[in-house]
């Protein structure tokens, strides 16, 4: 290494109850480089950053910073700031009601009295120097999000940070704003700041970064020079290989995919867009078909299905259900049209932790029936027991709170909730995340079984092999846009990754 290393983390381990978030991860950051940290959900990116910024205490491992021989220990975010590690988060951590200049200096000065003129003057210097289009006297909430982010960066720079962590700073910016941010990042790089850049946007990584570190399931996949790593390889490194245990599930839908054209579509959308900012997309599915939305985290795969289900407000486009034009304003509309949606975030959007398994199971059906006409206890118990048996849910009884069940069993309960409504079209968004291998294969088998009985299903997963096993057609997404559709023979791991990485990848 010809450059000086400004930070090196060795053998970092961190475990939470039941999860090994980081296992023996190494990470080095050089002076004056922009280093991308990539990985899917649960890969350990945020845990690594939180260990570095003192939010979490590490279980094992050592952290070294330049010019210090012995390992350092960081106990709080404040301590991290003091030794030159600054973080700028996706959500702005400044005060919107104060001026730009105040946000630059508040909490830093020990002086009792404040000199506004000195602050404004110094802020003006810094802003002009970094090319940030803001006035020191402006109230922060009057600035655009991008400028607010830049002010946060300027504050970090003025605090003489050696390491700047940017945690998904670009996710709420438009292209023009992203370019401004990149200009600032390159500027800082030239001044010798080591920048750790977390993002999900592949193009942005290749545009601005020097090196990439990829994490997967809490383990280090590797650190690479950007010029040595074509996009396709990066995608495959992020997605990785799936365990072989699951490989023996048979594909049963090959036959159906042949006569797919003859059947009328169950759900058909045209030019659908929503408040989440996805590009308008077309999509349709027929009876008994398993479709998949494939792409990296943040590519818009969840946003697409959320729009179809009415979970995000629709801003344009048409939805037809069984040939009839419909309006979906809220999830309940979609439910009445025979749709079901198992959300990505089980903990917050799926389970009601304090309610019993039984109550969780009948929830969706109860909503469709109306809350003023409750099911009798015996009827609810009959429903619950039927599905507990059917899905082999491991619970002491239908009376225990769902929060006490394991992740896999919780997911089965949510699945039961939707199956009970007998939907024609069921959307499963990451149904297998964070659950054990045995349950994963059970859910995959169930998906194929339901499809063979005539249900249309959309299946979304970060694990590409899982998608290959279950889906008969794949919609591929990149950067909130549908970039391709693959079916039958085209559905191979390599082909999918190439589509995600984009055509340009072949040349690199």
């Amino acid at each position: 290494m010809q450059d000086t290393t400004v930070l090196s983390m060795r053998g970092i381990c961190k475990a939470f109850p039941g999860v090994r978030a980081l296992q023996d991860v190494d990470f080095t950051l050089r002076k004056g480089e922009i280093h991308a940290l990539m990985g899917e959900n649960g890969a350990g990116k945020s845990t690594l950053i939180k260990v570095l910024t003192g939010v979490y205490a590490k279980d094992a491992g050592e952290i070294f910073m330049d010019e210090i021989d012995k390992p350092i220990s960081i106990k709080s975010p404040q301590e991290a700031l003091n030794i030159g590690i600054s973080t700028v988060y996706q959500e702005i951590t400044l005060c919107p009601n104060l001026t730009v200049a105040e946000n630059m200096f508040i909490g830093r000065s020990k002086d009792f009295f404040i000199s506004w003129s000195a602050r404004n003057k110094r802020t003006k210097e810094i802003l002009e120097n970094l090319g940030i289009p803001a006035s020191p006297r402006q109230q922060l909430s009057n600035c655009s999000i991008a400028v607010q982010q830049m002010v946060a960066i300027a504050r970090a720079v003025d605090m003489e940070c050696k390491i700047l962590i940017l945690d998904e700073p670009t996710s709420s910016l438009d292209e023009n704003e992203v370019q401004k941010l990149f200009r600032l990042m390159r500027d800082l790089k030239a001044r010798g700041v080591g920048i750790l850049f977390v993002t999900h946007f592949l193009d942005q990584v290749y545009e601005v970064c020097d090196r990439i570190t990829v994490l997967r399931n809490g383990e280090l996949v590797g650190a690479y020079e950007i010029k040595d790593l074509p996009k396709v390889d990066l995608v495959s490194k992020i997605m990785g290989k799936e365990l072989d245990v699951l490989a023996n599930i048979e594909k049963t839908h090959v036959q159906e995919s042949l006569d797919r054209e003859d059947k009328p579509p169950v759900v058909q959308v045209e030019n659908l867009s929503s408040v989440s900012g996805i590009q308008p997309f077309d999509f349709s599915t027929t009876q008994g078909e398993v479709t998949g939305f494939s792409g990296l985290l943040g590519s818009g795969r969840s946003e697409c299905v959320r729009a179809i289900f009415g979970a995000d407000r629709i801003t344009g486009g048409k939805i037809k259900v069984k040939g009839k034009s419909v309006k979906i304003r809220k999830p309940k509309d979609a439910m009445k049209l025979g749709m079901g949606y198992l959300p990505e975030d089980r903990k917050n959007d799926g389970i009601v932790a304090d309610l019993s398994v039984r109550e969780n199971i009948i929830l969706a059906l109860q909503i469709m029936k109306g809350f003023f006409r409750p099911f009798s206890r015996s009827q609810a118990e009959a429903f619950a027991d039927e599905y507990i048996k059917l899905l082999n849910i491991k619970t002491a009884s239908s009376n225990v709170p769902i929060g006490s069940l394991s992740g896999g069993n919780q997911q089965k309960v949510i699945l039961a909730r939707w199956l009970l409504t007998h939907p024609d079209y069921l959307i499963l968004d990451e149904p297998t995340r964070g659950i054990d291998v045995g349950t994963k294969s059970e859910i995959q088998k169930l998906v194929l079984k339901l499809a063979s009985e005539g249900m249309s299903i959309t299946f979304i997963s970060s694990e590409i092999e899982e998608m290959l096993r279950t889906c008969s057609r794949l919609i591929v997404m990149r950067d909130r846009k549908v970039v391709g559709e693959l079916k039958d023979d085209e559905m191979t791991q390599g082909r999918i990754m190439q589509t995600i990485a984009g055509g340009a990848a072949k040349n690199e």
Binding site: C95, P96, N97, L98, E128, P133, N142
Partner: protein, 356 residues
């Protein structure tokens, strides 16, 4: 490695990137200006319509100050707490307690005006410290804590004395009746004699308090930290501000101001009673809100609150001048005013949200 040096030698930045457009007003400034305009309009309207009923007399304006001096100080305390994102509804009860305690202290225990000031400030500070500690360090809801404080203060006042007590201490009464004449300002009365306008001593104290607090909020670290904590608690924490201490100090300062305000109240009314200052905490909250303080925190100014308290008083005067003597008419017009300001604030917040 000093960034200051590196920053200063870089000069390749396109100057055209710095937007030269005029900055929009901050929320605090906008709400303050609205309040001042409404107050001036209202007062001028009163002067035009009810000139015969004393509105044109300068003393009418000074009486507005004389009658509301205590409220101004109490409202300033609430403004401080509200800027930091809290609330204090114990100030009315505490004022009654302070009044009664000082009367008993001076008349029954042989105390003097000087020592009574310490009693007033001591009671106010005790409320501030205890309530501040519970809110800031133990994380109890401020509404609940100060509701308990209110009940406690009212209860304690009744335990001390249930009868209404008029102050008989001579030293105190002399100071209370001191009228500060204003040279050259006044009006000619019915007998054709020029009467100079006067202010009570409490008004001078209130004005000093307003100016001192204005400076504190604007030019001290503590003052700016209050705004930061009220604006975004989480961010304030990340920016390195001691959030708990700032919250705690906001209540302590409010307590101190309650002590001062309680004494001014006593100087004006010269008696102690369990029913004194009832509902005054709500008047103080209303004055703060009319003055442009947001209940959500982070926005407000004591100068606005000062105007807010005067606006509240002027509404009462106008209603009385119209001839609607019932207390409910004052209440209804104040309610209308309060609604107007709250709706205005909501509109401003919505406009901000839309932008970002």
């Amino acid at each position: 490695m000093k960034f200051a040096n590196i920053l200063s030698r870089n000069s390749n930045n396109p100057a055209d990137e710095i937007t030269k457009r005029k900055n929009p007003l901050s929320d605090t400034a906008f709400l303050l200006i609205t309040t001042v305009i409404i107050f001036v309009l209202m007062y001028v309207l009163g002067m035009i319509l009810f000139a015969g009923k004393g509105f044109a007399n300068p003393q009418n304006f000074f009486n507005l100050l004389n009658e509301n001096a205590a409220l101004i100080v109490l409202s300033c305390g609430l403004t401080i707490v509200m800027i930091a994102g809290g609330i204090d509804i114990s100030v009315g009860g505490a004022t009654a307690l302070i009044g009664m305690s000082c009367v008993i202290h001076m008349d029954d225990q042989g105390g003097q005006f000087g020592t009574a000031i310490f009693v007033a400030l001591g009671i106010g500070l005790t409320f501030g410290i205890v309530q501040g500690y519970l809110v800031a360090y133990l994380g109890v809801q401020p509404f609940i804590v100060t509701l308990a404080g209110m009940f406690f203060a009212r209860g304690l006042t009744a335990i001390i004395e249930t009868e209404t007590r008029t102050v008989s201490n001579e030293g105190f009464n002399k100071i209370a009746q001191t009228r500060i004449r204003l040279p050259g300002v006044g009006s000619v009365n019915n007998n054709g004699v020029f009467v100079q306008a006067y202010l009570e001593i409490g008004v001078i104290v209130a004005l000093v308090v307003v100016i001192a607090l204005f400076a504190t909020l604007r030019w001290t670290k503590f003052g700016r930290n209050l705004y930061a904590v009220g604006g975004n608690l989480q961010s304030a924490l990340m920016l390195g501000i001691n959030v708990k201490r700032t919250k705690f100090l906001s209540y302590v300062l409010c307590g101190l101001l309650t002590g001062i305000g309680g004494m001014i109240f006593l100087l004006h009314i010269r008696s102690g009673a369990t029913t004194h200052a009832s509902g005054m905490e709500m008047d103080a909250i209303a004055s703060s809100i009319i003055g442009g303080t947001l209940l959500t925190g982070g926005v407000g100014s004591v100068f606005g609150t000062f105007i807010g308290a005067l606006t509240k008083g002027t509404i009462g005067n106008i209603v009385r001048a119209i001839g609607l003597t019932g207390a409910w008419w004052t209440g209804i017009s104040r309610a209308a005013m309060l609604c107007f300001f709250i709706v205005l604030q909501s509109v401003i917040i919505m406009r901000k949200r839309k932008k970002s």
